[in-house]
Amino acid sequence: MTAILIMNVILVVIAILLVIAEKYLVTYGDCRITINKEKILTVNGGDNLLSYFAQNKIFVPSACGGKATCGYCKVEVLSGGGSILPTEEVFISAKDRLKGVRLACQVKVKNDIEVLISPELLSAQEYKAAVVKILDLTSDIKHVFLKLEEPSSISFKPGQYVQFKIPETDEFRAYSVASQPSQNNTIDLVVRLVPNGMCSSYIHEVLDINDKIALTGPFGDFYLREDSDKDIICIGGGCGMAPIRSILLHLKEKNMPRKVTYFFGARSKKDLFFTEELFKLSKEFPNFKYVPALSEPKPQDSWRGETGLITQVVERTVIGNAHTEAYLCGPPPMIDASIAVLTKKGIEEIYIYYDKF
């Protein structure tokens, strides 16, 4: 009996102490967040930048939900952000540190703060969409067709991505749009099942036709440079197919004005998808060449195309040319190896665009 009484007394004392401390110590009052020197948000301080952005419908991309593990929510903090935290150091290069690049989820707003975010983020919006169709592309990749409902059209550049909100949570995951921009009221996604991946398992196992979902976007600086007339090399692996398909379908509508070669790497024949569509495209336009390559073809595949890692195939078949730009999308080791091969072939690094995931 006395034990419980004593415990309660101690608890009450601690609670009162904490309440008093919070009242006198944790007051930041109204803080002003100035975005790109024009837009001003007035907020009651104490929380991190990313959550204030979200409250004000500014969709800074974030895949981990503010745990400093994805490194997507980079913004430039011009003043008022304090110094960089050890949790951020992994994601921000020495060059970016000088510019003041920070992870929005780690910057606590305690006073007036001035930030720069890329203007396209201010134009990103939230879209409500419905699932129209889901197709199996391979054993672990699905093709999801979405119809936009509210707003009913989207304008994006081929290669950009949208963020898929996992229903009933505050988590987002990024997926590249696999359809062309002209088709502006529908969006196709290509989703590979990641073992234990929260969103991909949701899409693979739960998502059904007519489900309503929410997207934000478009985001990303990986998109087709349309002001250039250089030849194009695309290299893709796995669901790196998605943004490149968007680029190809867009170029198809423009009658394939530039010379395009698309290298796609897979393990065996069962990991290839969109194969017919792409070969049809290459028959239609002599300017376009599709080169799928298998790294471990099975005997029953009776494969007669290229074999080996996709980088080896690129090394064998590409003839160096400074009048070329490259679009790479796939897993990080593939991208790094491809960049090394392409620069050796004489393609300037600034004309190699990539999206690692």
Partner: protein, 197 residues
Amino acid sequence: MNTTNPLILLIATIFTHNIALVYILGMCPFIVISKNFKTALGMGAAIIFVVTLTAIINWPIYWLILVPAHAEIVSYLIFIIVIAATVQLLEMLIEKFFPPLQSSFGIFLPLITVNCIVLAVLLFMVLRKYDFIQTIFYSVGTSAGWALAIIIMAAIKEKMMLVSDIPKGLRGAGITMIIAGLLAFAFMGFAGMITLQ
């Protein structure tokens, strides 16, 4: 009451009775946060601070309030609650009055709240019946020993990143466990010099 000399306690808890390498306590941050030397320093400093402070606060609560009232049965609950509240308060104070400290060690404070060595020190303090002075030396020594262990670990891992080619399957937690084992062997060299009761 325990009659061990406080200075002997200090040396014993750092070397012969190192809490990480001999008692295998406080393993989660020891394995996970030991990738970077600077981070390990911050974590070590934070743990010395929090362990000592909570021991100083909890000693009078236990011996002057709980024991006279025969309420030892709720000591675990009280210890845990006091630890949580102290860390919370400490974080607010640091943020308000010492902002430069916030980035170097303030961010580790929430991670420490649930660290088992903070509770372990309090339980040993009760079990071995340390007086107030002994408790201070014991808590400083124990946490400094843990800090020493994580700093050694981080230094080894940082060097390994640069020079060694670790087999793929052993990278991450695997090699850390092996290093921890070797370190524990090394610390066995101190064993027997001092016996604690």
